[in-house]
Point group: C2
Chain length 199, copies 2
DNA sequence: ACCTGAACACCGTTCAAGT
DNA sequence: ACCTGAACACCGTTCAAGT
């Protein structure tokens, strides 16, 4: 036994997260186990617990990577004058991302505190970033100084889109009578924007 | 060992589902295990597999009970002339139900086919019932013969509300900057209805 | 015909023991 | 200081053996 020093702590973290990300991408979140990751990187189980608090912590870091990738993917979406078209572009970028990462997505925003623990701050900040993109796209419908209201609208709208996306990417939208989640999301967005414009 | 005939098959099903429902209500879906249920009803693990295909099947039956209860809870909500107030009442009934059954709710509409299996028909029918209530409440905004379009709108809107509810009932709406899921749902509904009226 | 429980192949997590 | 792997207390699922 004993130290190996084959890898620095940072390298080990990278190795473990790469392996975990791959497992989730290929086989879904349920295939992610500490033992499996340890085997994949050629270290013992104990080492995983040296790197992460527990399995929840490990999976939180995998999700954080996905949030980073999502933010990178949507923040560059070009914007024009027309709020409606901007949102359609945003919606498309969002669904493109989900389709490219169906397993990795899934339960990103879902329950974390299986143990009732609140989510750590560094994670909450990552969750907030994609919402800030939506908020920015919504600002043309709000006056200067109404950022807070726009933020509320952004969270409302995108939680709704997320609900549709989650039910759509998993198979249960069939349960609900449609397989076209992306169209439903567009319909939700357009009517929501219509309602905002109506005032 | 051998048969005991203490209970008929139907009684056994009832006992098992009652026990399972209680476990989920008190400790969440993750506490539901075949061994635990068997212990609770005083039979061996094997008997659980005599009653249900597997743990997924058991949990699907628990969720089905929850859907029955939800439908019973919202189908009697009184309706007036005003679509907006009808929907506020519906929204309140929905959230009252979720608050009363936080653990039991959770992942009702979520991923079933962990194994990739499609959901069974008897379950899909139970999922559809609550949506039919929403569709009915939406009909004043649609012409006669537009049932299908109203159905699409109902699924869109309520998937959105569900998304907000799921993120709100679990703790992750804090991740999103608000703890008032019910208000967000109302805001989503009112603007969506506003958009529909705008045509 | 039903019910049991040992058996198999897994888990998450800990921690004494090694280098 | 790091890494190991046996140990503990669990899992889901199966199926020969009992009544």
């Amino acid at each position: 036994m004993g130290r190996r020093s084959d890898h620095s702590r940072d390298e080990l973290l990278s190795l473990a997260l790469d392996a975990a990300e791959k497992i989730v991408a290929e086989e879904g979140i349920n295939a992610l186990t500490a033992r499996r990751v340890s085997k994949e990187i050629g270290y013992s189980v104990g080492t995983i617990y040296n790197l992460f608090e527990n399995l929840d912590d490990l999976s939180l870091h995998v999700k954080a990577r996905t949030l980073d990738a999502l933010y990178a993917h949507i923040k560059g979406v070009p914007k024009g004058e027309d709020v409606e078209s901007d949102f359609m572009a945003l919606n498309k970028a969002y669904f493109d991302f989900l389709k490219a990462n169906p397993n990795t997505w899934g339960s990103i925003l879902d329950r974390e505190g299986a143990d009732g623990q609140p989510l750590p701050d560094w994670y909450l900040e990552k969750v907030a970033l994609p919402f800030s993109v939506v908020q920015a796209a919504l600002m043309p419908l709000f006056g200067a100084g109404e950022e807070e209201q726009a933020g509320f609208a952004a969270r409302t709208l995108w939680c709704g889109v997320h609900g549709i996306a989650v039910l759509g990417m998993e198979n249960s939208l069939e349960a609900v009578g449609s397989r076209d989640a992306e169209n439903m999301a567009e319909y939700l967005i357009l009517n929501f924007l219509g309602g905002l414009r109506r005032v």
